[in-house]
Amino acid sequence: MDIFSLAFVAAVLASSAPVLYAALGGALCGRAGLFNIALEGQLLWGAFSAVTVSWWTGSAWAGVAAAVVTTTLFSGILALGAVTWRADPIIVAIGMNLLALGLTGFLLRELLDATGTFAPAGLDGLPDLSFLDGVPLLGPLLARQTVLVPLAVLLAVAASLWLYRTSAGLRLRGVGEHPEAATSLGVPVSRYQNATALLAGALCGLGGAQLSLGNVTAFTENMTAGRGWVAVAAVMLAANRPLVVLGACLLFGAAEAWGFRLQGLGLPQQLTDAAPYLVTLLVLVASRLRVRRRLGAADPVAAVSAAHPETVVHPEESR
């Protein structure tokens, strides 16, 4: 099992890409103070719409475009519910995830006349980058990937640059940290939160498309299988920092790719299923413990509240 082979790294990249898209969306929302755990549902919806439109139009790219558009619309539920109407983002997200699960299953039957898996011959999947064959380094890494894979990494880097080097990024950082302060300076908090919610939708659309038209060429009921939750854990681990999110998602991808290798060696499939979650959980716990220990004899009152993720923070209606 050659974990240092480029082929393995390529497998890691492929596994990580969908999660990375979702996690980037989640991280940007987190920066705006919006706790977005609807990533699982949005990824699933993206995967489904990509396959459906690709099947109808015969073009995978149309599928990708449709995934981006429809998932953005879907994320509007979070924007409307949690930002405009100030409902609990956790409950809205639970509803969205369940809605995506039910709706995709329902439409799979109604629109595509399939149960379980939809993988017809002739379904147009995304093309790979085989023109890179023979190119050193990039060839073995990317030749068998779709363009959405390196795009995810590029977006992570771009997000980091944007966040720390532009005025808009500065304003976003302020919005999440202290929405009242941002409002008092005329920065429209709700608009930023809405924008990041919709952007997360678009990113999940890309991630879902990569899952159903890139990693495989099919749609299976519930095919995201918890990746959205791993993305949430990655966001938490990385404290909303895009480059660290990239690292965390690569870790997940490595766990999954390694799991497949082990399966090839005869270990049960269930271990592969479980491995990514356990690895993510362990790393998350370890990193949080490290932070706790650094805080020393921490303020117990604050510590008790520390396990509570930030929900949407709204500027107070001052009296």
Binding site: S167, L170, E177, S184, D299, P300, S318
Partner: protein, 522 residues
């Protein structure tokens, strides 16, 4: 009602228009009228105090001026021209700036980033960090506000953070600067420094509106005074021509009837003993360097000092919310080391915390449920593993009546109560324990003068019944009125330990900034 004293008839025709003016402003929040047909004129180059007790409407009025609220009636004028303020953005564009009481700063961002936020230098959307830092240096030089542009704001003490707030306004070319209760977090020395800066600004043509309830500061630092009560103007005065008594009369409609400690003989039984308490500084925690104190039964021991000098940490250690690195806390001689909050409460400590919404109450629970915490395992509410909701409501009704808490009912959610009434709920609950030791922080913060006096009376009655009170307050006047002894904390240590008689404003003020102990007769 607008009482214009003779000789102050307002601007005559031909005078330049005032820097800012509010005409006929009315603002309602639901059925409550916060501001009722108020006129206010801010003359250019003056420092103008807007005074009133908590809830009088002065903060709301200034929020209207700054575009945070749209008035239901009336208009805002700047330089004689009416403004349409849809948000603070419009106010900023019109040359208004505001420094809020609770700072609106981004802790994880630097001083420069905070100052230029939403007005960043740079082209094509790129943020020019160096230009921002240069601008900050420039402004701080010009107005005498020393700061390090590259420092992260959450590493700065409160007095310095306030300077950042002022720089924010100056960066946006504010010509009218509104300060909302700016001295709450400053030492007396820093207060003088602030007023000097304000006077410099006024001399350079900036107009300053100072929102405050501290009559003393009004007299020291301002040119004009407008007094609000219950949302309406009760007096317009020239500072030079008025007195503290007149201002207070306009603020509360009567003279002050402060509760004062009779300072009768103190009992000798030691209830609380803190012995050489030490705690290293940490994130969000100030250090404590060898603090010792004693509180006897029937005594109020006050702890003075600007927020952030270790008082909170000492209190948390006494109460059990924090463990010290070394040192002992003893209750009736018994060492409390290793005992948690619950055990200490059972042994006889009650605690009124400073952070009322965060820690002292639960907004979504009912008044009755808030009053029951700590009493829920003892009869009549809790007995033999059972809880009686009816007994809970009955106790609550009794306490509400006794302390005069205004509420729609004991089952109303606590968030429906005003600040003063919520504070009374906390006090009622903690006093009801009749614990030997009562630890109180900021008992009258955010509470109007009337309720504040009642609260002081309650504390003194508690003392008269033999209770020991550890009182932490940032208000020197409160400590001087209530305490038998006053300690001053600075940077984690005790710099003064005085009998009430010796605890004058000057001595306390000095101890709050100097490490040296002033000579005091024993």
């Amino acid at each position: 009602m607008t009482d214009l004293p003779p000789g102050d008839a307002g601007p005559a025709a031909g005078d330049p228009p005032p820097a800012a003016e509010l005409r006929g402003i009315t603002k309602r929040f639901g059925p409550v009228v916060a501001v009722d047909d108020v006129d206010l004129v801010l003359e250019r180059g003056t420092v103008h105090a807007v005074v009133g007790e908590n809830g009088a409407g002065k903060s709301t009025l200034m929020s209207v001026l700054y575009g945070l609220h749209r008035p239901d009636a009336g208009s805002v004028l700047r330089g004689g021209r009416e403004l349409r303020l849809r948000s603070p953005l419009d106010a900023i564009a019109a040359g208004l700036g505001m420094v809020h009481q609770h700072f609106r700063l981004f802790g994880s961002l630097t001083v420069a980033e905070n100052v230029v936020y939403r007005a960043e230098p740079g082209r094509f959307g790129i943020y020019d960090r160096r230009a921002a830092e240069r601008r900050v240096a420039e402004l701080s030089e010009r107005f005498g506000l020393a700061v390090d542009p590259t420092a992260r704001v959450d590493t700065l003490p409160l007095g310095v953070r306030q300077r950042v707030e002022i720089l924010k306004a100056l960066h946006r070319q504010a010509e009218v600067l509104i300060l909302d209760e700016p001295t709450a977090v400053l030492t007396p020395g820093e207060v003088d420094g602030l007023f000097a800066v304000l006077r410099t600004m006024a001399a350079q043509g900036t107009t300053v509106a100072l929102v405050t309830h501290k009559v003393r500061e009004v007299l020291d630092a301002t040119d004009r005074v407008t007094v609000l009560r219950d949302g309406a103007v009760t007096a317009r005065l020239r500072t030079a021509d008025t007195t503290a008594g007149e201002i207070v009369q306009a603020m509360i409609g009567r003279g002050l009837q402060p509760a004062v400690n009779p300072r009768d003989a103190v009992r000798t039984e030691t209830v609380l003993e803190v012995d050489d308490l030490r705690l290293a500084a940490g994130p969000g925690a100030a250090r404590v360097l060898g603090v010792s104190l004693r509180v006897h039964a029937g005594e109020v021991v006050g702890v003075a000092g600007v927020s952030g000098n270790g008082q909170r940490e000492v209190v948390e250690t006494v109460v059990g919310l924090r463990s010290p690195d070394s040192g002992a806390v003893r209750l009736h001689g018994r060492d409390l080391a290793g005992l948690g909050v619950r055990e200490r409460r059972d042994l006889g400590i009650a605690y009124v915390p400073e952070d009322r919404p965060g820690v002292g109450t639960a907004a979504s629970l009912s008044v009755a449920e808030n009053l029951a915490l700590g009493h829920h395992r003892t009869p009549p509410i809790g007995s033999r593993g059972r809880l009686s909701p009816r007994a809970m409501r009955a106790q609550a009704a009794d306490l509400v009546r006794r302390l005069g808490v205004r509420t729609a009912g004991v089952s109303a959610p606590l968030r429906s109560l005003s600040g003063g009434n919520a504070q009374k709920v906390v006090l009622a609950r903690e006093l009801h324990h009749e614990a030997p030791l009562l630890v109180v922080e900021q008992p009258t913060q955010g509470v109007d003068v009337g309720a504040g006096e009642e609260i002081h009376r309650l504390l003194l009655e508690y003392r008269a019944r033999g209770g020991a009170v550890l009182l932490v307050s940032y208000e020197i006047s409160e400590l001087r009125a209530l305490a038998d002894r006053v300690l001053v904390m600075l940077d984690g240590g005790v710099t003064a330990d005085l009998d009430a008689a010796d605890a004058t404003e000057d001595v306390l003020g000095a101890a709050m900034v100097h490490a040296a102990r002033p000579a005091v007769a024993p």
